[in-house]
Symmetry: D2
Subunit: 109 residues, 4 copies
């Protein structure tokens, strides 16, 4: 397995990582930051795992499936938290990316 | 400036990082690895800088433009080296991604 | 130049990245998260740049000095912000790591 | 659990990541690069996982233990490969760092 077999999952992970960073940074500019603290924490964890998953897949690592399993778990938690913040575009975009990434990572794992 | 203003450049950087990892890993499986050593070295450096650039842009950092300048430089060097290996699909794909990323990063910087 | 010539700077960057992550996560648990939002934002940017600098130095990259210059700048800003939060151990630890990293990166650059 | 409880493991992971990068880059300069190709591949995978583990630990993530388990596995494989190259200082340093990191990550997991 290498880049081309994993490409859809790599793309989903990288897009999710970028939208998690964007969401974290945008949450910090909201009026009520306190209510976004769980979201920001999960965004940071999710971005780290999504990028590591994309790296191992693009390197064709034998551990790619195992990290996709961990990645799916954090994406599900981050997506669930983000989806609660219905008025915030950055959270809704991040939730959609997390859910898509979780599904593709589950299939991969 | 945030994710949406930078999106094209973020996408180019993340795609380039993934194709650099793929190229490095694929080069290691070529018959004449020795002749690929510069390519592998530049792939590793380019992947690191492309990802850092994508991170700072998606975080809306004030240093996004400065790192895009460094990123453009390594993409140009990596793309030039990869483009020399005309028989290898992974190098040609990586060269194309590096050149596209270099152009967009130059515009951004 | 490679790992051994850069070792002190690599160690300072990696320590700073870890303490920035710790500071960001700890700030999110403070009672007044709003007042920590700039600190969290700079922690995320600083962690990203410190790690990229450590990567390029440990790879012996020709761009190591240039990224150390960027890294010194964000470390100075992050350290200045963290040092304002005198009652918080995580901020004081992060401020000390940022200042040390900034100094070593300046020397390197 | 946060940075201070994990500190020994974070330090081992970050040191291992840096020495893997150094080993990969140094292997590429050896006369017989072909014989180092497995080593370089594992160095790249190990560096990616070690850094992700350090990130999740320093963020106090609930998935820190799970990624330490994956990290221990790749460190064991990378350390075993590096230890075979007895004449190369970079491989011996990397092997020692991998073995130490694997042990601490096993304890953590």
């Amino acid at each position: 397995m290498g880049y081309h077999q994993y490409q859809q999952c790599i793309d989903a992970c990288l897009r999710c990582a970028a939208l998690c960073n964007h969401c974290a940074s945008s949450c910090l500019q909201e009026a009520d930051v306190k209510s976004m603290s769980t979201c920001i924490q999960l965004d940071m964890e999710c971005a780290a795992l999504c990028y590591a998953a994309a790296q191992l897949m693009s390197l064709g690592s034998g551990q790619a499936r195992a990290i996709c399993k961990l990645c799916a778990e954090i994406c599900e938690r981050c997506g669930a938290e983000c989806s609660r913040h219905k008025d915030m575009q950055h959270c809704q975009e991040c939730a959609a990316a997390c859910k898509q990434c979780a599904e593709i990572c589950r299939t991969m794992a």
